[in-house]
């Protein structure tokens, strides 16, 4: 076997792999690029959708999943990950994809309810019996309480955590920004570990048994009770929280190139149907459909929810002010040391 022969074998191997990858995407597949806590929900939802699509069109479809921190996932889509649909933690990340030109700027008005078929909020997860008596946001700022939250710089959920704390402080202090900043700084002074994603924080809190309270998505808190035992943990709902709207949209540039627009749109529409909404509720997301919302009202605590648009003037403004380099979050961490 000559050297050249080996080289050509190698080249052939490489070419085959490239072709293989191309052939795989030529099938009837849809890629849903999502954030961390939605895995279990979409596993079940995808099966339901495949069944429905088969019944309606006679064609079989495979929905592929990719999960990770919301920002990281959006970054991958911007860099060319072929996502047909994105279902991320916050609108800012989809705005970033829109800014890169991959989808229409008006994406959020294309589907009902700000393109958020389900909502969630931020709650506290504490250890059984609530030994530190954590009832509301102001308890998080007390000395001796350890708070676990992911890093707002990298985690979408953590940004909701941070903004909920901020909104609480504004309300308590008559919209005094300086006091709100001090309050949030006090809370973050109590944070011993900043994981990069929501899932990392949950592992730190439940498995490594670090901290007294975990700031978590409501659905993640319920899932943790299910996974790690309701005899170890309990959920505390604060007096005020934030309406978290995880948005979904079709990535125009990808579906138009792959010719999957129809199926991608049907996929997202299915989230708004009764079946989709029930699955969302099953996985502890708050459904949008009024009758389902009442049906599941017992499960989800009635809490005063502020919205990102009213309290912060939308995601772009919030991002710019709080999380950009040199923003309020960075200032908190520089002042602290």
């Amino acid at each position: 076997m000559s050297f050249r022969y080996r080289l050509s074998l190698l080249a052939a191997g490489l070419a085959l792999t490239v072709l293989g990858a191309a052939a795989a995407t030529a099938q009837d597949t849809v890629l849903n690029v999502s954030y961390d806590p939605t895995r279990e929900f979409y596993v079940e939802f995808n099966q339901a959708f495949a069944k429905k699509w088969k019944a309606e069109t006679g064609r079989s479809v495979t929905v592929k999943q990719s999960h990770g921190g919301s920002g990281k996932q959006a970054r991958s889509v911007i860099d060319g990950l072929d996502a047909d649909v994105v279902t991320l933690a916050l609108a800012y990340d989809i705005d970033a994809i829109a800014d890169s030109g991959a989808l229409a700027k008006n994406w959020q008005s294309r589907l009902p309810n700000n393109s958020s078929p389900y909502t969630s909020t931020i709650v506290f997860l504490v250890r059984k019996g609530n030994p530190k008596q954590i009832k509301d946001w102001n308890d998080l700022a007390k000395p001796g309480v350890q708070v676990i939250t992911p890093n707002p710089k990298t985690s979408g959920g953590a940004r909701w955590n941070y903004l909920a704390a901020w909104a609480y402080a504004l309300e308590k202090n008559g919209n005094d920004e300086a006091k709100a900043k001090q309050f949030v700084a006090d809370v973050f002074k109590n944070v011993p570990v900043l994981d990069s994603g929501a899932r990392g924080s949950t592992v730190t809190f439940t498995q490594r048994e670090i901290g007294d309270v975990l700031l978590a998505w409501e659905n993640e808190a319920f899932l943790s009770l299910q996974e790690f035992g309701a005899d170890k943990l309990e959920i505390v709902v604060p007096s005020l929280s934030i309406l978290a709207e995880p948005p979904v949209t079709v990535v125009d540039s990808v579906v138009d190139r792959k010719g999957t627009r129809k199926i991608a749109e049907a996929y997202l529409q299915f989230l708004y149907t009764r079946e989709g909404q029930e699955l969302a509720a099953k996985h502890f997301y708050r459904p949008r459909q009024p009758e389902l919302a009442t049906q599941y009202a017992g499960r989800f605590a009635d809490v005063k929810l502020v919205t990102i648009d009213q309290s912060f003037g939308g995601w772009r403004a919030a991002q710019e002010k709080h999380f950009a380099d040199g923003g309020v979050f960075d200032q908190i961490y520089q002042k602290g040391r």
Binding site: T154, V191, P192, V193, L194, Q207, R208, I210, R337
Partner: protein, 295 residues
């Protein structure tokens, strides 16, 4: 060199006139082919992508570059990364030296197994090392619990945890650079020192140790260079607190996730430059010591 080049043209496949100016004559063929392939491959796989990094960082402009790199957060991440890497490399220098010494000088049951095991950090994926170390050193892990109960010491999710991960991945470098030199050390020098009445400690510190120092410094430098860039094993065990336990590679990832490509590239370029110069300094130091020892 140039004069010799004229004879070069009669030799088989020496690669033409341009190459013949560059290289000494040889009857061995394949210089053009292998050098060409090497340079092409090197260029495509390593140099072109690295150029993309500096081009991206250069896109910020001179002041933009420094603005991205000189923020307190980036500087403290550099402090954390380099400081803890130095600490880990120092621990490895001490214990790696002892391990090398034990492996070369003593025989004990399981000697060969221990020798093979030293390379584990090379072969074990960093992510596996990361989850194993964090499970082990967490407050409720095997070792973490003991340290917590006995000394009230928290390891995982603190800078100490990072230092442990970096020690783990750097361990083989010191052992594997000191080991062969120690093996080849002529026994005559030690015997001579001993017969001249030197104590064991004097023999070690005046004869053996100076001979091993260049290798030790090399191992130290390699362990350090590897530790500075490490990501996989660290993120699982680091607390990722800005200014305390946030390492530079994580900061690059964070910048990427904020769509700050220029910033990520700038920090990356800075990291390349700093570690390159540190290695250069250590290499010079090593050459100087070899020269001093030779005298």
């Amino acid at each position: 060199m140039v004069a010799a080049a004229s004879t070069d043209t009669v030799l088989p496949s020496s690669g033409g006139t341009v190459l013949s100016v560059l290289k000494k004559p040889s009857v061995i063929p394949g210089f053009g082919l292998t050098l060409g392939f090497t340079l092409t491959y090197l260029g495509l796989i390593v140099l072109l992508p690295l150029a993309a990094l500096t081009i991206k960082a250069g896109g910020l402009g001179w002041s933009g570059f420094w603005n991205a790199v000189l923020t307190p957060r980036v500087l403290s991440a550099f402090q954390v990364s380099f400081g803890l890497s130095l600490a880990a490399a120092a621990v490895n220098a001490v214990f790696g030296f002892i391990v090398a010494w034990v492996l070369v000088r003593y025989r004990f049951p399981g000697h060969r197994i221990v020798d093979a095991l030293v390379d584990l950090p090379f072969a074990l994926p960093t992510a596996v090392a990361g989850i194993a170390l964090s499970a082990l050193y967490a407050p409720n892990g095997w070792i973490g619990k003991l340290l917590m109960d006995w000394f009230g010491l928290k390891v995982a999710f603190t800078p100490i945890g990072i230092a442990i991960a970096l020690t783990f991945i750097g361990l083989p470098f010191v052992v594997r650079t000191v080991q062969p030199i120690l093996q080849d050390l002529p026994p005559e020098e030690e015997e001579a020192a001993a017969s001249l009445g030197a104590s064991r400690w004097q023999t070690f510190s005046r004869v053996v140790f100076p001979a091993l120092l260049p290798a030790l410094v090399t191992g130290f430098a390699l362990a350090f260079a590897r530790a500075v860039g490490e990501y996989g094993s660290v993120i699982f065990i680091a607390g990722n607190m800005p200014g305390i336990s946030e390492i530079v590679p994580l900061l690059i990832v964070i910048k990427l996730e904020q769509y700050d490509y220029g910033g990520a590239a700038a920090v990356g370029t800075m990291m390349l430059v700093v570690s390159f110069f540190l290695l250069l300094i250590l290499n010079l130091l090593q050459a100087w010591m070899r020269w001093r020892h030779a005298r």
